[in-house]
Symmetry: C2
Subunit: 174 residues, 2 copies
DNA sequence: TATTACGTTTAGTAAATACTAAACATATAT
DNA sequence: ATATATGTTTAGTATTTACTAAACGTAATA
């Protein structure tokens, strides 16, 4: 029965919605990506609305952030003023894109505040045990963040190298 | 002035709170970790309450999940029935612990649903173009998740090797 | 056995977030 | 110029999540 495929698609979409929520994104985002990912053709905004059950407004904004993350692509057909959307299928590229997105934003500001703590400690320096202790700890955290940062940058640089290769490399290390 | 150190600590705590929220954890968790991290001595639950401004209930539950993640450790002093808490300072160990925690939980269940989609497609197979298309896509996603999974497992295996070393290795690759 | 010192659980509240419905903006077609 | 088709923004609502206040459980002490 042909209905079976729709049922399967629905299950898949629900699964991706959950995964989306798990990573701290709205579940609607996962659903939108899922319907695009399973569609052989590019979909218009209204088609996405129809298949996800969300409203135009929600789809409009969420599809934009998906595009900014590089998980979907917006295109247009000649002589048709609708926008059309397709899913990115190169997930490694998408990961790079997401990491790059995160480089800026909230996170960077917060990490910077750790570095500021460090300089504040240096500038108002008082030689005593606790001051030393706090300084060492903050410094260690800052170095950790630096390491994370360079790891992220390294991953970004892996233009053509699939994540699976990285996995192989890591498994050789132990 | 000695007050300055408290001010610096407060800024630091606020920074970690934001970082915590950014990664999808309650900001209170970040605050709790921060005060423990900057304390030279182990702190009791009530001391944490005092320094974070949270209530006992909140600290009680959040300190427990921090402990489960391996980010703090619970200990007790002889002849004192309070529990005492300290921050984990080996962040690489903590990362491993968090990854391990996530192995189970929500995420795994969702990922499994993708695999289920795949078998559902195989079992109800209908030979046509769309069916093939959907199958290929779902399969590609499933392989991607597998890669992520083995990457996580590889990282977990890196007992003694610091993340900073991984960074170096990655930077050599490009 | 009653009291005290703790940690945990629970029931309710406040705050944050995702989403809806509808007004709006803009370009195209009539 | 008016109407139509489209995407966006906005204002409000519903849902979820973090947190509070207080009751509760439990073990140690008196």
């Amino acid at each position: 029965m042909s209905n079976s495929l729709n049922q399967i698609k629905k299950n898949f979409t629900e699964g991706l919605s959950q995964i989306s929520r798990f990573w701290g994104f709205p579940k609607g985002m996962g659903a939108i990506f899922a319907v695009l990912y399973l569609s052989p053709t590019a979909l218009s905004l209204d088609e996405i609305v129809e298949r996800t059950g969300l409203t135009k407004g929600a789809v409009s904004t969420e599809v934009r952030t998906l595009a900014r993350m590089g998980l979907v692509h917006r295109s247009s057909k000649l002589g048709d003023r609708k926008d059309y959307y397709t899913a990115e299928t190169d997930f490694y590229a998408a990961i790079r894109s997401i990491l790059q997105e995160r480089q800026n934003s909230e996170f960077d500001r917060a990490v910077r505040s750790v570095k500021e703590t460090l300089t504040a400690l240096e500038e108002n320096w008082v030689e005593n045990e606790e001051w030393n202790f706090v300084y060492e700890r903050v410094k260690a955290l800052q170095e950790f963040f630096d390491a994370i940062d360079s790891l992220a940058k390294a991953v970004i640089r892996l233009e053509s190298l699939g994540l699976s290769n990285v996995t192989k490399i890591l498994s050789v290390l132990k």
